[in-house]
Subunit: 227 residues, 2 copies
DNA sequence: CCGGATAGAATATGATCAAATTTTACGCTG
DNA sequence: CAGCGTAAAATTTGATCATATTCTATCCGG
């Protein structure tokens, strides 16, 4: 199947052993998180079976999971599409992200080792390169990787899961905004976060995280209202 | 199919028009929320196709959705089961519920009408009857209905969705605790919530909600650690 | 402008294959 | 001779697909 080929190019991990519906889920999740799918775009089962070269059942299962994640919406009349966000949606997500993710930052600050902070700093440097190069897709991937790596040390899988769910919701819209404004104006409070981690300053980390979120989500809200 | 029969007994709503996978999802969701499934219990696809009288595909889709909801867990080796909660899980859920649900209470307090408050009060009276009768299943249903009805006025579908996801996670464990302790010792801060709503006192509503959550979840944490 | 025919897409089933667990039987050791 | 451990077969369960049915939307004719 075609999915295997994609994986083989990227990295030959043990993902081949995973069931196909899991691979389809991960593939679609990446496409949503990193903006290969446009808000409002219809998602059809048959289109995916054709493009991915797999049967209908795994595709159906992956789509159901993504609907429960809020990453896709079921439009009642059997249609599935990528969500368009309203101003109210964004406002709710700002609240939820700040509540959840500042706490994740606090907990990670308490647990993280120096080596792990070094790794985060390396990620952030690569992120800066992406911004300089104007690579929107690369920016989105590394930004996600940075937050995921940071939160992974919080020892709070349920909170991480809630956060991931929120990222899936705004992924496509964030891509649109980045594409419109370019990477230059993108927020990067990661330096502040890293400083706070080095100081083991829990509240400073929380504040920096909240500012990172407010800046990014605020930009998205402005862009979607004006456009 | 057998699902139709169950619906016909309860209430002949327009659920018959919904696709079967949706009906299966709702059926399983109820069973999880109201404790018909025990933590640790294995959930098999074929068992559900037999007991519900439907094909495999709709059952598979419903299970995938519930896994994404955190209501069921995928045990790696293809097995699916009802989650057993750790102390850390409960602690995270207390934090998340208080963050999200107090905000939902705040927003509802600002929007709710007097007639809607009357309806909540009626729900709470029926809840008291359930506690007096020792009807655990009825208590769980009405407790859920009360919170759902309250939050529905917050005009915040994304936050409601996050909260619902959390309820699905602790549903089975809550049932165990209620069954062990009986309904007498169950928390009911709903009177305080209703008073706060009538006063249109946003912060009082938030505090009462937080106390309701802390009390219920705390009891669950104690029970699961000692048992 | 409205209403029926048609095409296309989604839903649902059963069949088939693959994987994992359990059971059983055999052999080895104490 | 008894008990334990291991290995292989059988059973159970999951994963995928191909096919039939049902529903929706669009288009064409009146």
């Amino acid at each position: 199947m075609d999915l295997i080929k994609n994986k083989a190019v990227a990295a030959l991990t043990d993902d081949e052993k995973r069931p196909v519906h899991e691979q389809v889920y991960r593939t679609l999740k990446s496409q949503i998180l990193f903006g290969d799918l446009v808000p409002g775009q219809p998602v059809t089962i048959q289109g995916l079976t054709d493009s991915l070269g797999v049967g209908m059942t795994p595709v159906r299962e992956a789509i159901r999971r993504l609907i429960s994640d809020g990453a896709l919406i079921f439009q009642g009349n059997r249609r599935v599409s990528v969500p368009l966000l309203s101003a109210g949606d964004i406002e709710q997500m700002i609240f939820a992200r700040i509540s959840i993710e500042t706490e994740l930052s606090r907990r990670s600050t308490a647990n993280i080792t120096n080596a792990e902070i070094d790794y985060l700093e390396k990620l952030d440097q690569r992120l800066d390169n992406m911004i300089a190069d104007g690579d929107v897709s690369g920016y989105l991937r590394l930004n996600h990787a940075f937050h995921q790596a940071l939160y992974s040390h919080a020892d709070a899988p349920i909170l991480v899961d809630l956060a991931e769910r929120l990222w899936l919701r705004f992924g496509p819209s964030l891509r649109i905004v980045c594409g419109r404004f370019g990477t230059q104006s993108l927020p990067d409070r990661h330096k502040d976060i890293i400083l706070a981690l080095r100081d083991r300053d829990v509240e400073k980390a929380a504040v920096a995280t909240a500012q990172d979120i407010e800046q990014g989500m605020g930009m998205m809200g402005d862009a979607l209202n004006n456009g």
